[in-house]
Point group: none
Chain length 198, copies 4
Amino acid sequence: MSPKPNVTTMRTTQIIEAATTVFAEKGFDRATMEDIADAVGINKATIYLYFDNKDALIHAIAERLFDQELAGLQAAHDLQNTAMERLTAYYETLITEESEVMPLMPILYEFYALGLRRDDVRAVITDFIHQLTGLLAAIIQEGVENGEFAPTDARQAARALDALLSGTLLHWVYAPEEVDVDAQLRYGVQLIFRGLLH
Amino acid sequence: MSPKPNVTTMRTTQIIEAATTVFAEKGFDRATMEDIADAVGINKATIYLYFDNKDALIHAIAERLFDQELAGLQAAHDLQNTAMERLTAYYETLITEESEVMPLMPILYEFYALGLRRDDVRAVITDFIHQLTGLLAAIIQEGVENGEFAPTDARQAARALDALLSGTLLHWVYAPEEVDVDAQLRYGVQLIFRGLLH
Amino acid sequence: MSPKPNVTTMRTTQIIEAATTVFAEKGFDRATMEDIADAVGINKATIYLYFDNKDALIHAIAERLFDQELAGLQAAHDLQNTAMERLTAYYETLITEESEVMPLMPILYEFYALGLRRDDVRAVITDFIHQLTGLLAAIIQEGVENGEFAPTDARQAARALDALLSGTLLHWVYAPEEVDVDAQLRYGVQLIFRGLLH
Amino acid sequence: MSPKPNVTTMRTTQIIEAATTVFAEKGFDRATMEDIADAVGINKATIYLYFDNKDALIHAIAERLFDQELAGLQAAHDLQNTAMERLTAYYETLITEESEVMPLMPILYEFYALGLRRDDVRAVITDFIHQLTGLLAAIIQEGVENGEFAPTDARQAARALDALLSGTLLHWVYAPEEVDVDAQLRYGVQLIFRGLLH
DNA sequence: GATGAATGAGGTTTCATTCAT
DNA sequence: TATGAATGAAACCTCATTCAT
């Protein structure tokens, strides 16, 4: 009811955002609670008023990061018509957000690594991949049904498409001068589209 | 009179292998030098006779891991004839080694994360990706030249192919029950091949 | 409403004083941060809230020790009249403080040794000797100008006087039963005074 | 009997000499047995064939250093005639050996510090000072007896003289550009001689 | 006599976390 | 809600010393 956004919520967000940056720069283990507090401009102990401990903070970041990503992609294609257009809108979002995505890559890989060791993080990632696959599969399935695409296993196709996108990001972060993400993404997706069409 | 294998080399290898396992399990920062020493069955201090410090050990692992991977892939396709067969041999290596690859995934992502923060590690990875791309591009280029594939930018195609493979591994580790790597890899690669053919 | 003495300043002083004692007993390298913490009755880690590291702590002690010594000597002679009286007051300070000086001798020689290896410590000592020489030279110069002393190079005389005092302390600490500091100091100084008079 | 100097004796000497240099550079605690072995060009473990442990090595150095110093001074004045000449010969030795003495100053102060904590080292130093004082006192006593010097307590005079010399070295090492040892020593000694004469 | 290899015992420093104010 | 002060528990790294060869 109260229109004024809760102070607590703001602080929580502040901390999560600062922590995301700090973790991306130093890694989960090398970044200290003090580094994060300094980035927010508060005292180290204050973080503990908002998060039980470092692990909980990391978990919160994982949730926000992957949920946000999902929401962004979901929104992107809602406006489009054909399956092709919707898939295109999807990866163009990535291209557009390029400069925002780059600094998050380190923390993304940290999460991929951490998720294989911590169940709560794994759950977040598994869920993200599951939902994303579902999202893409649904679009592809539509395309198949309305004759845009040749009949195929939509889930496998969805995974292939997402795999290609994820993998392309890896090439990009490790060879930024050599790889033109934009072109490379378009190229890869066209390749797959051509495979799907008929 | 086979020259008795240098004790030092053996120890070095022992340590690297044990460390790889330990790091894969706990992560670079959470794993302690003592954990590693225990895994080898030696004293903590002994590791320092073979590696200057933890970072140097991690670096040595990176080199061995990526170089080994590259060598494995390189060897795999040497025996084949057509470009298609050679590319196929390439990803079938991945499928065959599945059980060996899985436990390395955590350390692989650790490296992808760490490489974005440490120049020496970044260099190893960049080099790996570069060489791998070159390897695949050469095969594809051959295919284009002998008419197996339609004309295309071989490097972009190579990146697309590798991206798809890398990305598929990610789906696999995070949804092992849901994803049949074998089928998924074949599916994705077929998709790309179909795009390349004509 | 006297401003309540800063807790931090108090702790800092506590630590410096305890560390001085501990270092005097065990030497800079043999004394551990834990020894010092125990002497203060705090945790080892707490010291690091007040000093960046062991070296910084040692540096702080050097500054306090030599500055304090200088201040003590400076104060001592301010009240006197003739140059002779002022010089006398100076070394009588040493005699009076005998029991306080003795336990500091080990750390003093540690500093003399360390100063030849660490620039920051060397600077403190060099400055101390420089100032001390200046102090004594000024008094001697006055004595020369008002006819108390025969004309001489005041700086050389000052160094000779201080050298004799320092050297006498060495004899004293290494032969405390044999050397009566009081008598020995008086004797030496008289010798020099006799040399200066006319 | 055997004129060929024992190999063992040579090694022992080699080690002592190398260790003296290394200790002078790094201090007793910072210098490692390996540093010393490297300086000799032998293996770390070999040192233990010649010395029981690090402390024993340090002790051996102390003995050699102070005994040698004493022998040097003793020899110096043997040839002279008057007490004055003999005392003069004594400090001129110091001046002549200046370049050899300077690099030993750090280890000398280390010993002065260590001697206040380790009985075996203390004994060496106490003995050195005792003998040196005796040496000088004997000369002065002669001077008194043959009328060169006015009657005085020869031991006190000896200590004063040595104190002045030791103290002058301190000024010198900490202000080498400012202090002309040669001149300063002469000045100081003249001052004392003038006090002794009549 | 000499050494390569190994280790036990520590020492410095860091840091997540707590708590009184 | 916020924080200054403190700490327990490590972790990395070093080094004197030993010993089999």
